[in-house]
Structure formats: C-alpha cells, structure tokens
C-alpha cells in the first residue's frame, strides 16, 4: 500500500536562522500508529506543523494520499483529512462539549442551531470511536482526559482520517493514558491513521506499530516497533556529537546550602507533577538535573524560586525555609535564578541593559541612596558587567531588545552572578544562544562553583549536564530515578536509561547520595 503521508527531503529554516528540519524523509502507512520520538528541539513539532499547514517547508515535498500538497493554513490540512490535537487544548471553556465539537460546522434547522442534533451527533461519534464524553457538560468543568477526548472528536467530526497527537500523555494521569491508548487502537481498527508524538519510550513500545526517531532536525531511523527496544531507541535519541570537555578543577564540596525535602506538586488539573522529590545541594558543587523536558523540572525550579506555590514538602536555604515565600524573600535568602524562558521572565526588553541588571537590588544600598536610586552606581555596575561578561553593546543605556540572543543571556548571567549568591539555579542556561556565548556561560558557571557557590543546573542538553556537573540526578515523570555521585564516571547511555524511565534506582540506593 502506498503511504498515506509522505514527506520528502523537508528542510525548514526559520526567519531567525534556526534550522529545525534538515532533509527529513518521513512516511506513514495507512492504518498504522506511527510514533515520532526525539528530544525537545529535535524538530518533531516543526515537522507536524508542516503536515498540519501551520508552517510551510523551506524546501521539500508534502504528499498526502499520493497528491503533492501545499497547505497554506490548518484549514487546508483539515480539508485534506488531517486533524491535530495540540498540547494546549483549543476549546471554548464556557461552551458545552457538544458545542465545542461542532464549532464552525454547527448543524442547523431553518437557520437556527439544532442543539439536539449536535448532541446526537456527538453521542454517535463518541460511541463509534469509544471516546467517552458528556455532551452537555460545560468544558470548564470537565477533567483533562475528557477535554482531550473532545479535541480528538473535534478532528473526527471534521472527517479527519489522519490524526496527529502532539504529546497527548503529557497532561494525563496513568489511568487516563491507558484509556487514551485503548481509544487510539479503536481508531486504527476503524481505518484511521495516527501519528503519535512523544518522548516516553514506554508508550512507544506499548502503542505504536512503527517508530521514527528524530535527532537535531534529522531522521536517525524508522523501524517497526517490534524490532526496537527501549534501550536501542534511547541510544538513537540521545547519541550526540563529541562531548565537550570543560576544564574544571576537582570539586571542593562544602557545607550543605539547600535542602529540598519531600517536595510534591499537584497542578490545577490534578496531575502529579512532582512526587516526593528530595535532594541536597552543597557549596562548591554543580548538581545537574538530567531529564527530558516536561518531567517536572520547570515546576521544580519555579517552586524553588518562589514563582509557584508547592502542594507539600519543605525547602531550606542555609536552614531558612524558602518554600511558598515571595520571589524577593527567596532572593534575599541568597538564591539566584537564570530562568529557562529568558524573554518571558528574565528580561524587560524595552528597558535598558542597566535597568535589567538591577531588578534584584535596586531597593538596597549601594543602589538605593536616600529615597532614590543612585543611577551613577547603576551605570558603574552596567559598565563593569558589560566589560566583565563581554556583552556586545556600545552602551548600557540601550534597550535589551537591541541585543542578540546570546548577549541577552549574558545580561541575565551578569545580574544573577554578581548578586553574590549562595545558591545559583540555572535553567537551560545555554538554550538557543550562539557557540561563543554558550562557552562563556558554561565557563562562568564552573567559575562560580569553584569559588564556592552551590549550583543547580537544569538542562535538556545531556552533554551540557554531563560535562559541567559534579553530581547528577535524573528525573522522570516528576520523580528522581537515579543519583550519580561522580558525573565523570557515568556514560550517556546509562543516563539515558534513567531519564527515560527505563531504569530506576531504589530509594535506599539513592538515600545516601542525594
């Protein structure tokens, strides 16, 4: 049988120069469940957006059911029988389930809505595909699992033959995940084709027929799931270029700076994001957290820095409780934070470089003098930071928006390093910045640690975690799955098995090492 979707030599280069896909060939057979796996940034999402018409390829062909297609919007893709369930649901909260399903194609009777028909049709397709929903329930009041089923039904209602599910289990509880898999199998039985994006290998093994692995924008391989093992897939996913080695003197581990005890976080939709997480960080060491993104690291950092309340647990910095305190209280306790999303949290783009440097200290001496801010001091700080951290700009009075990504990150690094922290939390500190800046940021992290600061490094870049950390913990689905007290002696294959949830150390094994 000819493939139902075929991508030929797809290249995608974004206007900002990022090359997300490099000559991807990808084909999906009709009636199969095809898993697409890869780390964050491997190019999965871009590829799916191309199929769904949300992005246009820079080069290459999209062939659907034997015809070459040029989709200009998702509307075109929908018309060609492609449906996509996004990670963030696209539902109208105050509408009922049935109203959401028929939105845009409402059944009518003499110009008026035929609500009964909408409900009947909802019940009908819901039963046909085994996707249980309550047609009359208001979306705002239903749980995430049902919301997702509504999304799938929306696509089916529009006649989708090919369904793209973008990390559908990321928001689900284990039971809901099982229900989803049952539903997917039923869809395929009735002739639908499913593309399933994930980075959870257990799920790949459980549900898919074939699997394609993407790495750094390229296809590593496509193989029948029956011929794959979790270990082989993990190796395909995380194998990478030469590991960079950072020069660093041996760690001089000092006193305990931060203690995280039995931290648990359940989000607003009832999903357990962090489950009983405990660890310590010591002065003079870099503790790396390795894990695929979306396994609780983001929330962990936000909770540790006062940006998000926790459900239960405790966290102490030098014996002082910092959990559920304001961001300022946490900072005053000696915690610095390089946020993972620098444009959203880390910077005010319109404000000047100098002003971005003082957000954590404008209210205290020497920057505050009497009732006002001493802008001479601020300018001095700016000049010093620009010089010391090599921020490429003629003047600290220019807006941060005038800098390149790498230099923006240097502004954040300058601020967070010069505050003389006890603990430095660095989340994705080199994401999306150029090689020079990356190297610089890494050197600075090591320097901080050698000077006696406790550093927590959270990164999706395994090579970075391995080359910088003294000690590594792996996280999977909100839990710590392993501790490696000597980062230098562990291989990336080994780490991959733990961060993808294939291996798991026991509590007793870990206790001493955390």
């Amino acid at each position: 049988m000819p493939p139902i979707i075929e991508l030929k030599a797809i290249y995608k280069i974004y206007p900002n120069g990022v090359m997300a896909n490099k000559g991807v060939n990808f084909s999906v057979e009709p009636g199969e469940i095809h898993a697409l796996v890869g780390e964050n940034g491997a190019g999965k999402s871009t590829l799916m957006k191309i199929i769904y018409g949300m992005e246009q390829p820079t080069q290459g062909q999209v062939v659907v059911e034997g015809l070459e297609r040029h989709f200009h919007s998702s509307r075109d893709a929908i018309d060609a029988g492609i449906g996509m369930v996004h990670q963030n649901f696209m539902l109208v909260p105050s509408f009922t389930v049935a109203e959401n399903i028929v939105l845009g194609q409402e059944p009518t009777q003499r110009g008026l809505l035929n609500k009964q028909k909408a409900i009947d049709e909802t019940i009908q397709i819901s039963e046909q595909y085994g996707l249980r929903v309550e047609p009359k329930a208001i979306v705002d009041s239903i749980n995430v699992g049902m919301r997702q089923r509504v999304e799938i039904l929306k696509a089916l209602y529009r006649g989708a033959n090919i369904l793209i599910l973008d990390e559908p289990t990321a928001v689900l509880t284990p039971q809901e995940t099982q229900e989803l898999f049952l539903a997917i199998r039923k869809l395929v039985e009735q002739g639908k084709t499913v593309i399933f994006i994930t980075h959870k290998l257990r799920e790949v093994m459980e549900v898919s027929d074939r699997v394609t692995v993407l790495r750094q924008g390229e296809v590593v391989g496509t193989l029948p799931t029956s011929e794959a093992t979790r270990e082989s897939l993990a190796r395909m996913m995380v194998g990478r270029d030469v590991l960079l080695r950072v020069e660093k003197p041996p760690a001089q581990r000092g006193r305990k700076v931060m203690e995280v005890q039995r931290l648990t976080y359940i989000n607003d939709t009832g999903r357990s994001v962090l489950n009983d997480v405990s660890f310590n960080i010591y002065a003079g060491e870099i503790l790396g957290i390795a894990g695929v993104e979306g396994n609780g690291q983001t929330e962990l950092v936000e909770i540790m820095t006062g940006l998000r309340p926790s459900t239960s647990g405790n966290a102490l910095v030098n014996g002082k409780a910092v959990l559920n305190k304001t961001p300022r209280e946490v900072r005053m306790a000696g915690v610095s934070h390089i946020p993972e999303d620098r444009l959203t949290n880390g910077l005010a783009l319109e404000a000047s470089i100098n002003e971005n440097l003082i957000v954590d200290r404008y209210f205290r001496p020497p920057y505050k003098k009497g009732a006002s801010i001493d802008y001479k001091q601020v300018a001095e700080l700016g000049a010093k930071s620009i010089e010391k951290y090599g921020i490429l700009t003629p003047d600290g009075e220019l807006p941060v928006a005038s800098l390149s990504g790498g230099n923006m990150q240097k502004v954040i690094v300058a601020r967070e390093f010069t505050s003389d922290p006890e603990l430095l939390i660095a989340a994705q500190p080199t994401r999306g910045i150029d090689v020079g800046a990356t190297e610089f940021v890494r050197e600075q992290l090591v320097k901080q640690r050698t000077d006696g600061t406790a550093v927590l490094l959270v990164s999706a870049d395994l090579g970075e975690v391995m080359s910088l950390s003294d000690r590594i913990i792996t996280m999977f689905e909100g839990e710590i799955t392993g501790v490696f007290p000597d980062a230098a002696s562990v291989t990336e294959e080994e780490l991959g098995l733990y961060m993808l949830g294939i291996k798991h150390q026991s509590k007793e094994e870990m206790e001493e090492l955390l």
């Binding site: 509408f95 959401n100 194609q105 009518t108 809505l113 009041s141 929306k154 359940i266 357990s272």
Partner: protein
C-alpha cells in the same frame, strides 16, 4: 408629602411606565455593548454612536419630512461610526479604548459643530421641525388592568427594546453566527483553527452594536424628546456598559440591569419630594455595579480554588487506591 404617598406612587402604573421610558435609551445601547463585549472588544464608543444617530435622525427627519427616513439615516450613521471604530481597531491596530474615546470626542464635537452650521444654534435643534416616532396602542393589551396602563401607549422604541433583547438572545445563543461570536470572544485561537474569521466576526459585532445603540440615541431625540440637544446622551453610553456587567453579560440580565438603572433614576425624582437627595439615590446602581464586579471576581476565584481542591482530592484518592 408622606412616605406612604410616595410608596404608592412608586407602584403606580404611571411610574412604572416612566421607568420603561427612561430605561429604553439604556437597554438598546447596553445590548450593543453586550454583543461587542462577548466578541472580545470593549465598545467605549456607544456614547458617540448614540449622539451621532440622535442628531442624524432629527436632521434627516426634519429636512425630508419623513420620520421613517430619519430613523433609517440615524441607524445608518450609527453603523457607519461603528465601522470607523472597527476599521481603526481591527485593521489599523489602534487600541479600541483610545479609538472609542476619539469617536466620542468626534461625535460630541461633530454634532454641535454641524448643529451650529445648520441652525445657527449650538444648544438644540428647536428651529428644525423634526419628527417623532409613533406610539403603539394594542387594543387587547391596553384593556388589561394596571399592566395595560404600563405598557400600552409607549412609543415604538420601548417595544423595540424588548423585541431586540429577545432577538439578540436568539442571535447569540440559537444561531451559528452568535455562537461563533461568543467563541471568538472567549478563545479566538480555538475559533480561528476551526475556520472562523476572528476579525470579521468582531467587525460584525461592532456593526450590530452600532445598529442597536443608534436606536438608543434616537429614543432620546425622536421619542423621549423631539429635539436634539447638545451632549443629550449625558453618559448613557457608559451606564449601558455598566449594565452589561451588572447583567452578568446575558441579554435579559442586561435588560434588567438597564431597567434597574432607569428605576433608580425615576425613583430619585420621586424621593426628591421626601427631601431625600436624588443624587445619593442615583449612586446606588453604580455602587451595585462595583459590588457586582467584586462579587463576580470573588466567585471566580472561589470556583477555581474549589476545582483545584476537587482535582487534588481525586488525585490523592487514586494514589491511595493504587497503594
């Protein structure tokens, strides 16, 4: 006058009839405000739309000698002004509040300016023989005791206010277009992915709101009074906006809220005879609106907290059952 007398007069048919008359120029623009609000845009320009159509209706009816043509022109002018607002907001990306303020200033200045050009008077249109819309007497209804005297003999716009409330509620909740409009207001991205044109939907909402508000304006100048006076809408466009929120963003709720404002206004005149200052009575609906805003948001927060608690409890239970 004693309290007793005032109380009796409040429950008289004549008083209630006057409440309806006073409420009508609030109900109609409030419906317009409701539709734009549900589509995700705040229409601050209701005031300016009302003023424009009040003026246009009077002038055209005076020069053409036809009330019908006057009303037609009044509606057209209101819709046109809304179109200008929509064009600036949706296509030139002007902040809708600022554009709305500009439209209001334009309407205030423009109507007085043209009034002076046409009549040489800046205060009102006394020298123009403009028309008045007819009253409606319905034989059967006017015989109903009490109620007959409240609703019969009201001018056509009073009736229209109720009919349009009904039509608006059908439009919003019973037709695909109204559903699309509400979807656009709540989650434009979701609507867009389902092939609904967000900009066009908002533009239509603005045009409808211009249509509705223009009747509110003409109620002032072609029914309640039969002349145009400068700045005669006197903030009713803003009160109408408050009625939308007080009415819980629902058509009949908005109507009731508008009537409450009208009632407070009428009541304040009655209470004047009891030496209770009308000004203080008139503040009541505004205080109630603020309280409604507060209560609404407190309730939202409580609902969210409750939902989170519920989900977390469910989670704890399922964890416990696993263990």
């Amino acid at each position: 006058m004693s309290f007793d007398v005032v109380l009796r007069s409040i429950f008289s048919a004549a008083f209630l009839a006057s409440v309806l008359r006073i409420s009508t120029p609030l109900i109609l623009p409030a419906l317009g405000g409701l539709i734009t609000d549900l589509s995700g845009a705040v229409n601050i320009a209701l005031e300016g739309i009302m003023l424009t159509s009040a003026f246009t209706g009077v002038v055209v009816s005076a020069y053409s000698g036809s009330v019908f043509l006057g009303v037609l022109a009044g509606v057209a002018s209101g819709v046109l002004i809304s179109f200008v607002l929509g064009w600036f907001h949706l296509h030139l990306e002007t902040n809708i509040i600022l554009a709305g303020i500009a439209i209001n200033i334009l309407a205030t200045g423009g109507t007085i300016f043209l009034l002076y050009v046409l009549t040489g008077d800046k205060g009102n249109s006394q020298s123009l023989a403009s028309g008045r819309v007819p009253n409606i007497n319905i034989p059967l209804i006017q015989d109903i005791p009490f109620l007959g005297r409240v609703i019969s003999g009201q001018h056509i716009f009073v009736w229209l206010a109720f009919i349009l409330t009904w039509l608006v509620s059908i439009y919003l909740y019973r037709t695909p277009w109204g559903t699309h409009l509400r979807a656009v207001g709540e989650n434009p991205q979701a609507a867009e992915t389902m092939g609904i044109n967000v900009k066009r939907t908002r533009m239509i909402a603005l045009l409808i709101s211009g249509f509705l508000a223009s009747f509110g304006g003409m109620t002032m100048s072609m029914a309640y009074l039969t002349i145009f006076q400068r700045e005669m809408t006197a903030g009713r466009g803003f009160i109408a906006l408050a009625a939308v929120y007080l009415g819980g963003r629902k058509p009949w709720g908005t109507l009731l809220a508008a009537i409450l404002f009208g009632f407070a206004d009428a009541l304040s005149h009655q209470l004047g005879s009891l030496r209770i200052p009308s000004q203080l009575v008139q503040t009541i609906p505004y205080i109630v609106t603020i309280l409604a805003l507060v209560i609404y948001n407190l309730r939202e927060q409580a609902v969210k907290r409750e939902r989170r608690r519920k989900f977390q409890e469910q989670h704890m239970q399922s964890m416990a059952s696993v263990e």
